[in-house]
């Protein structure tokens, strides 16, 4: 009790000072301060994804000299623990206690559903570096919500389109049995018109795929499509290779990427994915980014890092176009819509719904000469691709 009291009283003075100064200085401050809250998943098995996003964003801020749009940027990182209820509590802390003007996050769609309303309604901007659900792309689009990644369906559509273009007749589909898994297979089937020999849904978190692999061997499809994020993907890919199925093309989304390749290693080489970028994209900004990221964090950046890096560049461009006046929401919003920055993926425009219009590629896992593993660009599958929900978005302003 005594300790508690002293700890408490220790804070009283600074708090008082803070209260006084903020009351006085609000009008007097000439230079505005930019506060950004990063909310990503940093614990649990998916912590690698959030870690990449955090590192990508921080790298951009560091590269820009600690300023975004010429204003000193303070970045506060919080972990959403992949729990929507926890995320709501923490995002309210960011908005009300820390007074952030931007929230960058999250990684997962279920967290996005939870924090979208608290952030956008408090008149702060929400920039998602990964999750891009269909509802916010369509009828529920919001002028304070922007996405630097993709609409969730699009990466899956890439593989469906590729399978169709390639002339595959029989496709074997598998995904975990939850909403994103069902959306994924729907996305594939939007463009694939051949026969789906089997559509297997596995329990979320299943790690041994021996039963499904035996079914694939028996069905003899022309190709397999799998959506198995995280640890599930690591296991599936290695077991697929071990079962001697690697002669059947393996198409996937969020299953073979820079977050899973360090564990999949040789087993994934030659397997396909769909993405909006890969670390070997030929443009000077990507080359510089990949080099700096690998030097700083000793791992190959994936799309998670790239999209967060672009989120920082987007904020930089928006604040710059508002002349550094972060409090002028309308000017910042106009800047966000214009998205006048050099994206790592080259071709990038902000769509009417705040989701990007960009190119999508087939990527393939390769072993690099330095012994690390990465995805590598193959065919361009979609150009300037607008998501299918954008037509339902009627922007308010």
């Amino acid at each position: 009790m005594v300790a508690k009291f002293t700890a408490h009283s220790k804070w009283k003075l600074p708090l008082l000072a803070l209260a006084l100064s903020s009351g006085v200085s609000g009008a007097a401050l000439a230079q505005e301060k930019l506060k950004i809250g990063i909310m990503v998943t940093l614990s649990g098995p998916s912590a690698v994804l959030g870690g990449q996003a955090r590192d990508g964003f921080n790298l951009a801020v560091k590269t820009l000299g600690g300023k975004l749009g010429g204003v000193d940027a303070e970045v506060i990182v919080v972990d959403d623990e992949l729990k929507p209820d926890v995320a709501v509590g923490k995002v309210k802390g960011l908005l009300e206690r820390d007074g952030v003007q931007f929230v960058v996050g999250p990684i997962f769609s279920n967290v996005l559903q939870a924090i979208h309303k608290p952030v956008t309604e408090s008149n702060a901007f929400l920039i998602s570096p990964n999750a891009g659900t269909s509802n916010f792309a369509g009828a529920q689009c919001h002028p304070n919500f922007y996405v630097t990644s993709y609409q969730n369906d699009q990466n899956h559509e890439v593989l469906g389109k590729y399978a169709q273009d390639k002339g595959f007749k029989k496709l074997f589909l598998m995904a975990p049995n939850y909403q994103a898994g069902k959306d994924s297979l729907a996305g594939v089937k939007r463009h694939f018109k051949g026969e789906v020999v089997s559509e297997v849904y596995t329990p979320l978190g299943q790690l041994d795929f021996s039963a499904e692999l035996a079914q694939i061997a028996a069905a003899k499809p022309d190709a397999v499509f799998a959506f198995m994020p995280g640890g599930m993907g690591v296991n599936l890919v290695r077991q697929y290779r071990q079962a001697g199925l690697a002669n059947i093309p393996f198409l996937s989304a969020f299953t073979v990427d820079e977050s899973t390749l360090p564990a999949q290693k040789e087993a994934a080489v030659g397997f396909f994915g769909g993405a909006n970028w890969a670390p070997d994209m030929k443009n000077p900004q990507t080359e510089a980014f990949v080099k700096a990221y690998e030097a700083a964090y000793n791992s190959v950046p994936g799309t998670y890092a790239m999209q967060a890096y672009d989120a920082a560049l987007l904020i930089d461009a928006a604040v710059k176009s508002a002349g550094g006046k972060v409090s002028d929401k309308n000017a910042v919003r106009a800047g966000l819509k214009k998205a006048d920055f050099k994206s790592l993926r080259g071709n990038f425009k902000m769509g009417i719904n705040g989701y990007p219009i960009q190119d999508f590629y087939l990527v393939q896992a390769v072993a690099r000469p330095d012994g690390k593993f990465a995805t590598s660009l193959r065919d361009k599958v979609f150009s300037n691709y607008v998501d299918v929900y954008a037509k339902d978005c009627k922007p308010a302003n």
Partner: protein, 306 residues
């Protein structure tokens, strides 16, 4: 549905069953002999996998890694027993559940601090990679056969140990009536410790053996723990023989149900509804099995005699 597919899936079911047995053997003894609910048993499996991954990376050889991982898993189990579990034997079940659940959280976070959150992988030993042709058209990965073989070998050894040796006799006696064994002058504390350490090592062995096919990641034991509890409840708490039969049964029902359930249902309803129902039904099958077993034999298939 071909015969080959049936064989492959039976092997897959057997492999899952053997794996479940390795974990369940320790759990059923700990539960049966000590009347101690150890939710942290799945963590021992995870620790075994991490130790195997670490030692394999250090020595460059899986078998050396395994040889080092087993005693380390044993030592770690004994350490946990000494530090935590020993103080919980006389407490009620709720305290045990709370404390061992806390250990799950602490150790899952602990391995993340030491080895990082990204999944680790262990290469299959070179001599045992690839797949062999068991019969025309039936290709099966060698490593999975190794898991089945070593699991069955452990089962036989454990059976002999429990039925033919003095320590096995004490363990069986302890499972039936621990206070009486203690009254006859047996140091029951020491017996508990041996059982506990041994159970931890078996779970660790299971983790080490699957490390080459599954990714090694924090929380990997949590899903299996529930299946393991299903196994020991079906088998009868405290019975190693029951755990073995039940583990194989659960492994087969789960694997075969997942792959053939929808096909069988197609015979009685239209394909779309069948695949929908099959998908929903497959994960439930083992729980339906458990309910059925408990309905006819409330103490499980082979209950330890009280």
């Amino acid at each position: 549905m071909s015969l080959t597919l049936l064989y492959v899936q039976t092997l897959n079911g057997l492999q899952l069953g053997v794996l479940l047995f390795l974990i369940a053997a320790g759990l059923t003894l700990v539960f049966g002999v000590m009347d101690f609910i150890n939710l942290a048993h799945g963590v021992q499996y995870m620790i075994g996998a991490y130790l195997a991954a670490m030692f394999t990376a250090m020595t460059g050889n899986f078998f050396l890694g395994l040889a080092l991982a087993l005693p380390s898993a044993l030592a770690f189990g004994l350490l946990l027993e000494f530090l935590v579990f020993r103080h919980l034997y006389d407490r009620d079940h709720l305290d045990q559940v709370l404390a061992t659940f806390g250990i799950i959280l602490a150790l899952n976070q602990g391995v993340k601090v030491i080895w990082g959150a990204a999944p680790l992988s262990v290469p299959i030993p070179d001599s045992l990679t690839g797949a062999i042709v068991l019969m025309p058209g039936l290709l099966y990965p060698v490593w999975r056969l190794v898991i089945i073989g070593s699991g069955l070998a452990v089962a036989v050894l454990l059976g002999l140990l429990v039925t033919k040796t003095r320590i096995g006799m004490l363990v069986r006696a302890g499972a039936t009536n621990a206070p009486m064994v203690s009254a006859l002058g047996v140091d029951i504390g020491k017996l508990f410790m041996i059982v506990f350490g041994f159970g931890a090592m078996l779970a660790g062995f299971a983790g080490a053996m699957v490390a080459p096919i599954l990714s090694v990641e924090p929380g990997m034991g949590d899903n299996l723990l529930i299946l393991t509890f299903v196994v020991i409840v079906i088998g009868g708490i405290g019975s190693v023989r029951g755990a073995f039969i039940a583990a194989i049964l659960v492994g087969l029902v789960d694997t075969l149900g997942r792959s053939f359930g929808p096909t069988l249902l197609k015979a009685v309803m239209d394909p779309a509804a069948a695949s929908q129902t099959g998908r929903a039904l497959a994960p439930m099958l083992i729980y339906i099995l458990m309910a059925a077993v408990l309905f006819f034999r409330p103490a499980g298939l082979f209950p330890a005699k009280k």
